[in-house]
């Protein structure tokens, strides 16, 4: 029986390899302005 369904996600360990380009937005900027969250941000790395 299949007990587990794994949702496709970005592998954060792997993201260390080509990460850190710094082109993404600063965190609350352009939107909420009063709380920090990075989950809803886009990755802007063209080499990922």
């Amino acid at each position: 029986m299949e007990h587990i369904k794994t949702i496709e996600t970005r592998n954060l360990c792997e993201s260390a390899k080509n990460g850190g380009c710094g082109e993404c937005q600063t965190s609350c900027q352009s939107a909420c302005k009063t709380s920090c969250g990075i989950a809803n941000q886009q990755c802007e790395n063209s080499n990922k």
Binding site: E23, K33, T34, I38, A39
Partner: protein, 478 residues
């Protein structure tokens, strides 16, 4: 570390450090809970979780719990255990946090690079909202507007300090930026005239209360602004409780038609209808429904940021109501998805397949280092929420950052800077939280605003659940 929870009819298991997300049956959920209880003693999760003593204990316990059912059969439980071990072996469960040495690396690599400015184009406002964190736009100081000269120098400062970064972000903020609209327009024209020669691309954002929105503003914003943030609190009576003019008249009737026209002219894209909820409306889902009824679909609803004595402040009694509202909001999103009327909630936007890399996730928000606020007279602060707090004055756009000790404090803000964050499952989603919230709650930018953490964690749980539901719906429809 894992985080497991049940929401929306799903048993959800998040592997915190790899970002892997699993939806499991009850038996698996219980077994993983049992393994997690022993995780503290693990040196190597894949071999320690497979240790016979632990395995036998958990299998036997499940045989008792699920006795008489298919899931209570020993071979079924053993098979399930094997599937769990498979995830551990492939780095999708109980993954270790090995990122701490990388914390600060991104900031060190980009040290001195500024990529975004919040231009306080007007420290004045045409509304008199008592809950305003900016004290009616004045930031505890005198009313002022930014001159064209100061604004141009701020843009030059950004270019000069942006290193090889291509995309530069500038927010027109206040107060009410449209009270200084001519300067806004001239600054954008100036930026466009110099960006190519410097190999830069400016992205502008405008935050407005809507009072001065007209065709000219709409045309300009739709041509030049990658995003607009429109302030609306939802229900008329909620909005008009705080968002009043200086004669005490509510602004809802005046601004809603303008916002509808504005959004329509943007094809319903690249905007946020941003509300604030307070102690007066912890049932903020009703306000979100009003926004939807008005035709808005890109929504943001933020807990108020205000002083301890402010009657608008959210209380401990409000907390369970707010948490429940977040869950109901997630349910509403799923219902609307089914009806073919989806909408976006800023805090539930989560890109599971893309999203930020690990460097970004552990580096903190960037305030005071890559992001700063500029006052109408050219002073630099770590972010818009620190403007007016003199001890956080960093420098100015003419001489640059002089107060390096304050900047160092902000540079050191990362996921590992706070003990509470190290042990929190949500740390790779909040990146250590908002320095301003931390400061206002605890007196230190390295503090923890626990109330905000509770809200944040619930939002991420809901965001993941909605994302799972969308994923399953998409595969059903294929």
């Amino acid at each position: 570390m894992i985080h497991q929870y049940q929401l929306g009819g799903y048993n959800i298991v998040l592997d915190v450090c790899s970002g892997a997300l699993h939806v499991v049956d009850e038996l698996t959920y219980d077994l993983i809970e049992g393994i997690a209880a022993a995780e503290e003693t693990f040196t190597d999760a894949s071999s320690d979780a497979a240790a016979p003593a632990l395995r036998e204990k958990l299998v036997s316990s499940m045989q008792d719990k699920y006795a008489g059912t298919e899931m209570g059969k020993k071979e079924e439980i053993e098979e399930c255990y094997e599937q769990i071990l498979g995830l551990i072996r492939t780095g999708k469960l109980f993954t270790k946090d090995t990122y701490e040495p990388m914390a600060g690396e991104l900031k060190a690599r980009t040290s001195g690079v500024v990529k975004a400015l919040c231009l306080h184009i007007a420290h004045t406002c045409n509304l008199n909202c008592s809950y305003c964190f900016a004290s009616q736009g004045k930031y505890h100081g005198e009313r002022a507007v930014m001159s064209l000269e100061v604004g141009k120098r701020a843009l030059d400062f950004l270019i000069e300090n942006s290193g090889s970064r291509h995309n530069l972000e500038v927010d027109f903020f206040g107060g009410e930026p449209l009270m200084n609209f001519e300067v806004v327009k001239e600054l954008v024209a100036y930026a466009r005239s110099i960006e190519k020669q410097h190999n830069k691309n400016f992205r502008f954002t405008l935050t407005t209360n809507g009072v001065l929105v007209d065709d000219d503003v709409i045309d300009f914003a739709n041509r030049e602004c990658s995003n607009v943030v429109l302030s609306l609190d939802g229900r008329k009576e909620v909005h008009d409780r705080y968002r009043v003019d200086f004669a005490g008249n509510g602004s809802w009737e005046k601004i809603v038609p303008k916002f509808q026209k504005f959004v329509k002219a943007r094809d319903g894209k690249n905007y946020y209808m941003r509300g604030t909820f307070t102690h007066a409306n912890p049932d903020f889902l009703e306000d979100i429904k009003v926004m939807l009824d008005l035709g808005f679909t890109e929504l943001s609803m933020e807990p108020v940021v205000c002083g301890e004595d402010d009657p608008a402040r959210l209380t401990e009694e409000d907390l369970p109501i707010v948490l429940q509202q977040y869950e109901k909001l997630a349910e509403l999103m799923i219902e609307r998805d089914k009806e073919g009327k989806p909408f976006t909630f800023y805090h539930y936007m989560i890109d599971l397949k893309g999203g930020p890399c690990i460097y970004k996730r552990i580096s903190g928000c960037g305030s005071g280092t890559e992001y700063m606020a500029v006052t109408p007279w050219g002073d630099l602060y770590p972010c818009h929420q620190f403007v007016g707090e003199e001890k956080f004055l960093l420098g100015n756009i003419y001489d640059g950052v002089k107060n390096t000790s304050i900047q160092d404090d902000f540079a050191a803000c990362n996921v590992y800077a706070r003990e509470e964050c190290r042990n929190c499952w949500a740390r790779l989603y909040c990146s250590g939280g908002c320095a301003a919230n931390a400061y206002h709650a605890t007196g230190s930018v390295r503090g923890v605003y626990k109330y905000g953490c509770e809200l944040f964690k619930k939002r991420i749980e809901c965001a993941l659940m909605v994302a799972i539901n969308r994923e399953f719906s998409a595969s059903e429809n294929q």
